[in-house]
């Protein structure tokens, strides 16, 4: 009995160590094929923007499968901004720099997903600032955050759209399920853990609960 527990535990430790080791190797492997060097902080900013702004209309797998020269990436990002992608000029430049360096014509067929990259960076350089302990939500701040991040799918006033109606949704009373869904995603809903801070999620929750 004891032996089998030890065996199991050592197996888990070994697996965890291997995953951590391979995680860092994969980052290096992706960087090896980049057209130019991207600093982790720049990569995190671009990945976060892609996750939050592009995934409003389409999942990020569509981006990761492209292998394009810089001029076609430029035209594509311009088209998306023209269609309403919520990116400032500086943000668009950051995204462009990242995608042209990573998803260029000569890049390998297989590259990690945006979500995997965000998780790898979090493991390598620590979580984003703002991911702290228990927080109290502020409904007044939540309104703007909701409009910016959630409204495209859940509708103006949280009445629903492509995603379910959130106003008076029972999930608001089940904070465990709410946080689990927002942080890690569920079904077609992307994971927001890498994009929104705990304070921001709490603010959105407070605003939704006030509806």
């Amino acid at each position: 009995m004891n032996r089998s527990i030890t065996h199991e535990t050592s197996g888990r430790v070994l697996a965890a160590l291997l995953c951590a080791l391979l995680g860092s190797v994969v980052i290096t492997a992706a960087q090896e094929d980049d057209r130019e060097t991207i600093q982790p902080a720049q990569a995190r900013q671009a990945l976060t923007l892609i996750h939050a702004r592009c995934a409003v209309c389409h999942t990020t797998d569509l981006i990761v499968q492209q292998r394009l020269p810089a001029d076609r990436w430029t035209v594509t990002i311009e088209k998306m901004m023209h269609w309403g992608a919520d990116l400032s000029k500086e943000e668009a430049a950051a995204v462009l720099k990242f995608v042209t360096a990573r998803y260029h014509s000569g890049a390998p067929d297989q590259l990690p997903s945006i979500e995997e990259e965000l998780a790898m960076i979090a493991r390598a350089v620590g979580p984003r600032p703002g991911l702290e302990g228990p927080v109290t939500g502020e409904a007044s701040r939540g309104a703007g955050l909701y409009a910016h991040n959630c409204q495209a799918c859940h509708g103006e006033g949280a009445v629903g759209g492509a995603g379910p109606k959130l106003a008076r949704n029972t999930i608001l009373k089940n904070e465990g399920a709410f946080w689990e869904t927002v942080l890690h995603g569920r079904g077609p809903m992307p994971a927001w853990g890498a994009v929104l801070s705990h304070q921001e999620i709490a603010d959105i929750h407070a605003w939704l609960a006030s509806r």
Partner: protein
Amino acid sequence: MKVSRRVLVKTLLQGVGAALVLRGRGGTASANPIEGEAARSSGPLTVRVSRPFDAETPVREFLSRLTSNERFFVRSHFGPPAAEAVRPESWRLTVKGLVKDELNLSLKELQQLDTVTLTAVLQCSGNGRAHHRPKVPGVQWERGAVGNAEWTGVRLRDVLQRAGVKPQGVHVQFQGADRPALATVPLFTRSIPLAKALHPDTLLAYEMNGRPLPLLHGAPLRVITPGWMAESCMKWLTEISVRTDETPGYYMQQAYRIPETAVRLSSGLPGSAMVPVEQMPVKSLIAAPAEGDTVRPGPVTVQGVAWAGEMEVAKVEVSCDDGKTWEQARLLGDGQPYAWRQWQYVWNARTVGPTAILCRATDAQGQEQPMTSPWNPGGFLWNGWDRLSVTVAA
């Protein structure tokens, strides 16, 4: 031999994956042998984009003449509309524009018209986009954004005749109920020339393979333009407008256009003239064996499908030595307009080792499938020879 770090990492990962599986199950398991498969295989389809859901059919499914509804490729720009928008009881079809009488029809009223059933290939214009070099933007479809189904519906011609097309009306515009996540994104609106709209085989279909049209395939009503690419086959149809001109806007004037020279290679026109994608060019696929298979020496049945849009398939040729020699395959059944034709070739595999199997079809007008399709900026209409690698076991 230099082993790149990437290959090493991949091998390591597979090794760890296999080791964990082995530990967990305590049995024998092998690492997934499929390489170069970037997309996930989810159920019967290979998912290219999760939202909006774009997924292709694995080519092994093309061993059957009809592609089942559950295994039929799925493509849309915005995903299906909310179920309420297309509930058959409350759904209406509006016919307006350059017509004498505007119509507003329920599904039941529409179904009073003559019923037509026909089998037709439906193919995404971007099918095979991943094969174009240099690579082009868009969903990186490989071989399976195509299928062959039996469609039941009414003739678009009958609906237009009931409304009465005015003499100035020469284009017929379609609008579906699907909507983008942001109002700033243009709607997916398309038009076809009146001649195609009045063709007796152009349908408004409400059944697919004998069952009500599934939501992902355009319930309750979609356009079927047999022999033409799928962007004309509007799903979730709610509005038909007759116009004097082609529909303006992104999805008709910029997307789904190719250089005229890519359609008619000998047209002599400058490459800058862009025309809408319409007809399906001749094409064939190998459904079996599968990519990477090992076969035993002796007779191996090579089989697949071939289609040529509005044209009939005249012949299919197969090469089992990577293009050095070609043999004619046997065409099965009867040729039917718009449907694909199954074909078969018995290969006597004798030379041990790796080889490639190729196929190419020729249509009734003598148009032959090219080795590679002319490159175009949207990556449309790929119809290069199909090719897969197999090994003859010792």
